[in-house]
């Protein structure tokens, strides 16, 4: 009897200590400022950095050049495998900026271009696909307009109005000079 009592006493004491620890764990909250790789501050910084990247790329024209860097015969962006998006940053000025800002800091990104269809719906054309975003991914978007007189920037440099129906991923949705409004969406997350 006394033997079992010693063992039982030890186990009860252990349960009490563990119980106290569990209670303390439940009582403390993990706040947005708690340190971890999914820190809210890091997400904010990534979002602000990519927002600035898109804003500055739109300002110096490299963003428009990147959405027009299209090869109509392979049905995708120039230099990407036929029918597929790029697996890394695009080989143009926008891609260089993405590389220097994100890839070199071990941040992965997907780039999608949303466009308006004839029916008024929105569809997307993937430009860069690096994988499935994590739960802590952040998104930044920027709209750029392309016009009938905009030239493709790849080896094919025809104007958009000279292209046949299916030769560019976005259709011409406006009777006037405007061709389509493209929304570039960048999704970033830590690798």
């Amino acid at each position: 009897m006394r033997g079992q009592a010693h063992t039982l006493e030890a186990i009860i004491a252990a349960v009490l200590i563990i119980g106290g620890l569990i209670f303390a764990t439940q009582a403390t909250a993990v706040t947005p400022l708690s340190a971890s790789t999914s820190n809210q501050h890091i997400e904010n910084q990534q979002q602000a950095t990519v927002d600035g990247l898109l804003a500055t790329a739109a300002e110096n024209g490299t963003l428009t050049d990147a959405v027009l860097y299209y090869n109509s015969s392979s049905g995708t962006f120039e230099g990407a495998p036929a029918g597929e998006p790029y697996a890394t940053a695009p080989p143009n000025a926008f891609g260089t900026a993405l590389n220097e800002t994100l890839s070199q800091r071990q941040i992965a990104f997907n780039v999608d271009v949303y466009y308006v269809t004839q029916a008024g719906d929105t569809e997307s054309k993937p430009m860069v696909r690096m994988g499935e975003p994590s739960d802590n991914a952040v998104v930044a978007t920027r709209a750029v307009s392309v016009y009938n007189s905009s030239n493709l920037t790849a080896t094919d440099d025809r104007q958009l109005e000279d292209l046949g129906g299916e030769e560019f991923y976005a259709p011409n949705v406006d009777d006037d000079e405007l061709y389509n409004v493209l929304e570039v969406e960048v999704t970033v997350w830590r690798k």
């Binding site: 039982l8 186990i11 620890l21 403390t28 971890s36 501050h41 990247l53 500055t56």
Partner: protein, 174 residues
């Protein structure tokens, strides 16, 4: 061994080791519970973020409608560099950055409240320790109220463009 005492010694050994293992586990585990809360860099992060936002979107911006696009005149005034002749005379509209040209003004402009900060503009691919010296500026684009940057700092970054070229603006607060 006394017949009436059975296996008391063995039971006691098992009981004690169970108890001691628990105590050791708790002592090893408990301090890690508080790791997220030590350091107290929480407010520094907010200060760094606010400073980066106001610099890129307001104080240095050519227009508050286009945050990230910096005015060369404001950049020259803030970092106290002489500008090349080609871009000289470009003023800094609105914000009067001249009145914040000393360390006190720097602290007041960024609401540092006794903290130290380092503001650097560098190439997208370069580290913050290597400020850029564009061809239109006489000196590197860096400003700080304390020369030595410790390793434990709160960092905030923005992508900005000056004269159509993209740079990274990094604010470090400690």
């Amino acid at each position: 061994m006394n017949r009436t005492r059975g296996q008391t010694t063995l039971d006691f050994a098992i009981g004690t080791s169970v108890f001691l293992l628990t105590v050791v586990f708790v002592i090893a585990y408990a301090p890690t519970l508080f790791d997220p809360f030590v350091g107290g860099t929480g407010t520094d992060l907010l200060v760094a973020d606010r400073a980066a936002t106001s610099l890129s979107g307001d104080f240095l911006a050519a227009s508050t409608a286009e945050p990230g696009t910096l005015s060369i005149g404001c950049v020259g005034t803030f970092f106290d560099v002489s500008l090349d002749e080609a871009v000289q005379g470009v003023g800094c509209g609105g914000a009067n950055l001249n009145s914040f040209d000393d360390d006190e003004g720097f602290s007041e402009l960024l609401s540092l409240d006794g903290r130290n900060a380092n503001v650097t503009i560098h190439e997208l691919g370069a580290p913050a320790s290597e400020p850029v010296t564009p061809e239109w500026a006489s000196d590197p684009l860096v400003r700080s109220n304390d020369d030595s940057v410790p390793s434990d700092v709160a960092v905030s970054t923005r992508t900005v463009s000056i004269e159509g070229k993209q740079y990274r603006l990094t604010v470090r607060v400690w």
